[in-house]
């Protein structure tokens, strides 16, 4: 069966050019970058070059880039590291109710350690209110952490405005840009961001590699203690092939970003229109314009997400849902509840995320099959009355 992948927000396939760059660093150039002899020096050079490429895509300096094991570690490090390093100044952290669990669960942990956390609510589109943010700032606030773009509904937050407020109040500002990287333009300096989490596997790079951007001069404790790697800030022998792959992925993403954004938005809007016009009682989740180029998220009334995913999977279509039934926790997605959806509507949510390999033919296939799937499930639903 021909399969069609619509879950680029979950992860992306490795670009073949990325793989090609990585391979020599697995076999021939295997040296430990910390070693003094030529093997080590070669590996060190490769890592330095990679750091430069990663820095470039977000407008940073290469010495402000620290490699990590991915977005989750970067979020953990940014939040715990700045919280512990600044605890003499205060114990208050501001975040939002729609963050990725890598941020939310880290904040929950810090609450147990005596920190105080404010979770800003969002409006029906998933946007925070800047006045809310201003009003929640206290003398004890040491960190604001707001995600750049939401992984479920694709909503893009006003990062530049938040950066301004943070600067004005002299509070550190971290953003989880895992979903934004390679999808939209990012510049840490114009945005006024102090710390930024990014990850390789969402941009056609390898899994298990990411970075934390730390603006020069920002005080942060270590999360991973060990050797002197990453300027003594993050111990552990560098994952050279993954670092090389991540850097190549950044380079590729940057090279035709504008073109990619245009193409993806066109496909996205075509898909959204097709779904909304082809199926009654369907609602778009997230913001119509302030959304990631590749994100389509809809709620389909009267039916439940997992049964839609299962039906799609039987046709070879891979998508995702915020339904309780697809999560281990049995609660519908906290993001969908935060934008004000009822449990029942959140249950019937469906996310298609499109990427650089998605074709119009694939979108048409989904648009052709989805109405039938939904009708069949609605006919089975006790909530649906014709």
């Amino acid at each position: 069966m021909q399969r069609r992948y619509f879950d680029y927000a979950a992860t992306t396939p490795l670009d073949s050019e990325v793989l090609k760059e990585m391979l020599p660093h697995m076999e021939e150039n295997f040296g430990n970058p910390s070693s003094v002899y030529s093997y080590g020096r070669e590996a060190r050079k490769v890592i330095d070059d990679s750091r430069e490429k990663v820095a470039k895509i977000i407008g940073a300096q290469s010495k402000e880039i620290f490699f990590t094991s991915g977005g989750t570690e970067s979020d953990n490090w940014a939040i715990k590291g700045t919280a512990f390093a600044n605890k003499d100044k205060g114990n208050h952290i501001i975040t939002t109710s729609v963050e990725h669990h890598a941020v939310l669960h880290t904040c929950k942990y810090l609450e147990k350690q005596g920190f105080e956390v404010t979770y800003l609510p969002v409006d029906e589109y998933g946007l925070i209110d800047l006045d809310d943010l201003r009003n929640s700032i206290k003398d004890t606030t040491i960190l604001i952490t707001v995600m750049f773009a939401n992984n479920e509904i694709g909503t893009i937050q006003p990062i530049g405005e938040i950066g301004k407020i943070a600067k004005e109040k002299k509070i550190l500002f971290h953003t989880d840009a895992v979903q934004a990287l390679g999808s939209i333009e990012i510049d840490v300096n114009t945005l006024g961001v102090d710390l930024m989490s990014i990850s390789g596997h969402k941009i056609y790079g390898p899994k298990g590699i990411g970075a934390l951007y730390i603006r020069k001069g920002v005080k942060i404790d270590n999360l991973i203690h060990g050797g002197a790697q990453e300027k003594k800030k993050r111990g552990g022998t560098e994952n050279t092939p993954a670092i090389v792959g991540f850097a190549k992925a950044c380079e590729l993403a940057e090279s035709n970003l504008q073109e990619q954004i245009k193409r993806t938005i066109q496909l996205r809007d075509y898909m959204i229109k097709g779904i909304l016009e082809g199926i009654p009682e369907v609602k778009l989740n997230g913001h119509p314009e302030k959304r990631l180029p590749g994100n389509v998220n809809v709620s389909i009334r009267y039916i439940e997400g997992e049964s839609i995913l299962l039906s799609l999977d039987l046709l070879g279509i891979a998508a995702s849902s915020g339904s309780a039934c697809t999560s281990g926790s049995l609660d519908p997605s906290h993001v969908l509840l935060a934008i004000g959806l009822s449990h029942e509507i959140a249950h019937g949510s469906l996310r298609f995320s499109i990427g650089k390999y998605t074709t119009k033919e694939e979108v048409d296939f989904v648009l052709d099959k989805l109405p039938g799937i939904i009708q069949r499930l609605r006919d089975m639903s006790p909530l649906y009355n014709v």
Binding site: H347, M380, S381, P382
Partner: protein, 129 residues
């Protein structure tokens, strides 16, 4: 994660729908995930002669309700009442651990429908007295 039997019951569910003049109707919601199942029974001389269901829920919920209707059709009320969710799971060749609660819905919907039938039946008897 699902067995072929679960997929088959999900794709080709048996006895989907409603019974207009059902003798017993049971509707239950899962406290775990919020999903809903509705069961309709037609009963003659203490035997379930027809059964239909509707489900708002995951693939496992649809499959368990479908196979449960097959398991109780033609059975007496006493036999149907003995149906447990583990019997349903066995019949499906197993369910993933996190989907076990879905099968409880089927068991409870059947019990609720029988209870509904009994409560109506008892009042009818009383009226005749």
């Amino acid at each position: 994660m699902y067995t072929d039997k679960v997929i088959d019951q999900f794709q080709n569910p048996r006895n989907v729908g409603e019974l207009e003049n059902a003798d017993g109707v049971g509707e239950v919601g899962s406290p775990a995930c919020g999903d809903i199942m509705k069961m309709f029974l037609q009963i003659e001389d203490g035997v379930i002669v027809d059964v239909k269901f509707k489900t708002f829920g995951c693939g496992a919920a649809v499959a368990t309700s479908s196979i449960a209707t097959e398991m109780i059709k033609g059975k007496t009320l006493e036999e149907a009442e003995k149906l447990t969710n583990s019997m349903v799971i066995d019949e499906l060749g197993g369910l993933p651990h996190e989907k076990v609660h879905c099968s409880v819905l089927a068991e409870q919907a059947i019990k609720a429908a029988i209870k509904d039938y009994r409560s109506k039946h008892d009042t009818e008897n009383k009226n005749e007295e």
